[in-house]
Amino acid sequence: MSVVVAYKWAANPAEASARADGRVDFSRARPTVSEDDPVAIELGRELGDAGGVPVVGITAGTPAVATPMATKAALARGLDRIVLATDADAASWHATQTAQVLAALVGRVGDATLVLTGSASIDENAGVVPALIAGFLGWPCLLGVLDAEATASGWAFTLAGRRVEIDGPAVASVASSARAVVAPGMRDVLAAGRRPVESVDAGALGLRGAASASAEGADVPVVADVADLRVVGRRRPEARARKRVVFSGDTAPGELVDALRAEGVRGAGR
């Protein structure tokens, strides 16, 4: 049995800029383990320790995800080992393609009963990959998990407003408030360098076409080729022209009310 944590090596778009043609320049943005993923690793570590099972990180992307800097950053958060897939074209994958590869990696780990993710990646922030991984695995998925514990038949999850028990394996995205995380120390980073990383070529997972069912390590019920998503237009959003009138001091509230009235804003019920 293993607990798997799917994480992303990604850059923050707040450090990037959009060119006039809409292409986003990430050259000045420094990739990290995506902001919410350490929370998932922290919960995974707790569950792994409680159950006496390993915690395995999985990720997929360009060869950048396999660099020692990237893998050590994730391992130092508390993973026992990493299984990752790379592809030179991974930057153009859409979420379904990424999730299909991650699901295949879950199959490659072999004995996973739980897949955890952060709530959303810092770059795309779509929050759809955990549901897609679950879709490929045929497992149920829960989003916004605050806590989890193993049960005799599967897993029990605490979410906002409810507790859910699932018999069998599951995928869960972990709410960012689920655990407080601290930056890894030097000892964690040094230990991370000694933990194993298995890197495979995404193409070797054989997810395209009829070969998928018998592909090496791809013990995943892949039922279809995933259609491509082509970008046929791209632009930088037009910034809405704003007045940028700023008030300050004791008279500011009254001045703002005057301005709102001039804009035609009326009070509640008027």
């Binding site: 707040a14 959009a18 809409g22 292409r23 986003v24 859409h94 979420a95 379904t96 299909q100 709530s119 770059d123 795309e124 922030n125 779509a126 929050g127 549901a131 897609l132 679950a134 879709g135 497992w139 149920p140 998925c141 989003l143 916004g144 605490t158 407003g161 409810r162 507790r163 859910v164 028990e165 699932i166 018999d167 709410a175 960012s176 408030s177 279809a224 259609a227 491509d228 998503l229 082509r230 046929v232 791209r234 632009r235 959003p237 809405r240 704003r242 007045k243 700023v246 008030f247 300050s248 001091g249 500011a252 009254g254 703002l256 009310v257 709102l260 009235r261 804009e263 009070g267 019920g269």
Partner: protein, 292 residues
Amino acid sequence: MTWIVTTSARYSSLLDAGGRLGDGVRVVGVGEVPGADVRIEVPQGVPVEALAARVATAVSAQSGEHVLLPDLPAERVLAGAIAARLGAPLVRATKVCPTGALVARYGGLSLETVTTDGVLVALMEGGEEVEGDPTHATQRTDATELPQHPPAREIALDNEPSPAASPDLGAAERIVTAGRGFRTADDLALARSLAGALGAELAGTRPLTEAAGWLPRASCVGLSGHKVAPALYVAVGVSGQLHHLAGCSDADLLVAINSDPDAPIFAHADYGIVGDLYRVLPALTAALRDGL
């Protein structure tokens, strides 16, 4: 044909989008959903998420068709099962067109028009409630023809603000959004008073709705939550990070209140007040009650 899959009655915008796409709309309701063509029963005490694979089998969309879902947590899970089963791209779309969708990428830095030769599954703002008999559907699924869901159970917990307090932000004309400038959950009373004076809904940024849990998750504005376009949007104690601005940049009139004069939100505001919200809000609320 356009497929709509929803657990919620709030899907009017999807009906509108499906109507514009042409070729008819088929609504798959999971649970009691008004206006559903197909109804999938949700057994008592079973979480909707456990039915995802079952729901996916009810969506037999063909290449060139769209599957639309409200951008809500349960629907995201359903969308994942549907997209995986159909081998379809899954996007969070700003709008859809017959050949694809418009998608905001990277915190809204870029808008991409995307297309596919297959099915496109899109999560979108659901819109307002659709009226109708939620127990009526032209077709009910025969559970014996669908795959069995994994045994799963759910029980209610009283560990977050009441869902009944979740506002309908998609339809709100005025919104007051609270950000990290508030020091405690109790202090949100100041924002509630302001919202009351304006007749506005109260929303929150992701740190307040998800990380702190001071407001319902359904009241989150930003990339992680709702993309809103009210006539008036008042951001209080909100710094103006990219992920939040992506959710409110379509407001007709944007007002910011923040103690930091360099907060990015001011560059995106029509009017602002630089000041301590704990002093500004009581004075502003009183002035609004007297002056508007």
